[in-house]
Amino acid sequence: MRKAISVLLNNLVLIVIAIYFLAPLTWLVTSAFRENPSLWVEFKGFTLSNFPKVFTGDTLMWVRNSLFIALVTALISVSFSFLAAYPFARFEFRCKTPLLFMLVLSMTIPLSAVMLPTYSLAKFLHLQNTLIGVALVIAARQIPMGIWVTKEFISSIPVELEEAAWVDGANWFSTIVRIVFPLCGPGLAVIGLMSFVAGWGDFTTNLILISSERLYPISLGIYKASLEATSWGYTTINYGVLAAICLVYLIPPMLAFLFTHRYLVKGMVLGAVKQ
């Protein structure tokens, strides 16, 4: 009897928590499949026509810009992190420990604490209002994590493989390209996915650096729409298309999470647990 009550109570608490996490998604999920929805939730007028509309006009431009930022971010952060991780993993040098410490320490600078100087610096470097500028800022913030993870990965590869190549007359650069790089594949894929998601989902960097509408990524597009929706008055937003683009927007991070969460748990979580 007591056990039955306990099972019931546990289930009840868990269901309430599940509802808390589910309820805010209701509007988004239902509106994406409705014709001309408003801000309240209704279950009628089912349609799939909102999704093709995402890939036309302004919203297509948003998707393209987000994709560009995400790809450039991933490319820069993967290639630069990999190159820099090699000397960190294989050699001892004087400023290695302080450098690693600085890298890790810098990870705790919140982007929101350096928004204004980032804007001012980007303007100084003529990178304000460019997608490359946005990608550079996001990629730079991924590099400490990237170097750290790749360094651990390279350390776990036996040195003997490289030494055998040296005996055969290969120089250090071709050893890195032909032997270390392919063996780092899985680690680099994780870094690439995480950087891609960081560039894809970024809002703050875009908000401070991008001013022309043709450079808007998805995050800025839906933010500007929210400003219109929360102000009093007439809006021209098509909520159906907006909800549809929100759903499209969260597919890449969800897929990336499926592939990387084992590494995430292993790397970051256990690191924090074991400390």
Partner: protein, 294 residues
């Protein structure tokens, strides 16, 4: 250890340059900007003038700055410490697969943890839309209240702080659940079994055996999510924009508004330096804690 070539250190250069310019750079550049009167437009945008300590003097006399420090503190206390850590620990402990109840609560347990993780990966602007629609006057929450016979509420206007705290808990809890679940699984089974032999069970076992063993991970997580939550900006900006009035104006939002609404990049950056100093203190506390324990 082996054939060493000086050339190999050239590999460090691209990453370190990018990192130095775009990650450390803004923090260092900010120190310079905080001593100028740089503006977003006008002559002071093109040629900022050095103004000495003027911005810092103003900072110490600025009631809106002190107000924003207080509001950031409330936001972090409610959203990170009570919300994410508390709810995360509850969810992780309830869904531990070592519980004897687990087979009977498996469905609800898996559903709740999966949804928490899902929320953690949603981009913040989408979370903004989820919560704008959820808390709207005609939104799901008010529909539910009407169904129960209560009056609907203008959540974002009358309960702004509560709204952004709830939204941020929704976003961040997945991380804490992940961390606490891993921590719970790292506790040796023998310890729990020994406690059971001695007659401890349920809440007692959790309170006197499991929780003390979790102290380390809990502390680490608290500091991590404190630093992260302190830096949260986009979600509250989207939900309330700091309003109504200044009632949800966190430090990050205040700095942003100073720069991009009132065009005072110089003074806004001074506020940013304040944010930076507080997060540096939090970080140093974190390292000190790690150092003492490891």
């Amino acid at each position: 250890m082996k054939r060493k070539s000086k050339g190999v250190f050239a590999l460090l250069i691209p990453a370190l340059i990018i990192w130095f310019i775009f990650m450390l750079g803004p923090a260092l550049w900010g120190i310079y900007v905080s001593f100028t009167n740089e503006a977003l437009t006008g002559p002071a945008a093109a040629h900022p003038r050095f103004v000495g300590l003027q911005n810092y003097k103003r900072l110490f006399r600025d009631p809106l700055f002190y107000g924003s420090v207080y509001r950031s503190f409330i936001f972090v206390a409610g959203s990170a410490i009570i919300g994410q850590a508390g709810l995360g620990l509850l969810l992780a402990a309830l869904t531990s697969q070592r519980r004897r109840l687990w087979p009977k609560i498996r469905f609800a347990g898996r559903l709740a943890t999966t949804l928490a993780w899902l929320a953690w990966v949603v981009p913040e602007t989408v979370i903004g839309w989820c919560w704008i629609s959820f808390l709207d006057y005609d939104g799901v929450l008010n529909e539910f209240l009407r169904f129960l016979g209560f009056k609907p509420v203008y959540w974002l206007v009358h309960y702004g702080m509560l709204s952004i705290i709830l939204a941020n808990i929704w976003w961040g809890t997945g991380w804490s659940v992940m961390l606490f679940k891993a921590a719970l699984e790292s506790i040796p089974r023998e310890i729990e079994e020994a406690a059971e032999v001695d007659g401890a069970a349920g809440w007692k076992k959790f309170r006197y055996i499991t929780l003390p063993l979790l102290r380390g991970p809990v502390m680490v997580n608290l500091i991590l999510i404190t630093i992260w939550t302190y830096g949260v900006f986009g979600l509250p900006l989207m939900l309330t924009g700091g309003g109504p009035g200044h009632r949800t104006e966190l430090m990050t939002i205040y700095a942003y508004k100073l720069g991009f609404k009132y065009f005072e990049i110089g003074y806004g950056t001074t506020v940013s330096i304040g944010i930076l100093l507080i997060s540096l203190l939090l970080t140093l506390g974190y390292y000190k804690l790690l150092g003492r324990r490891g």
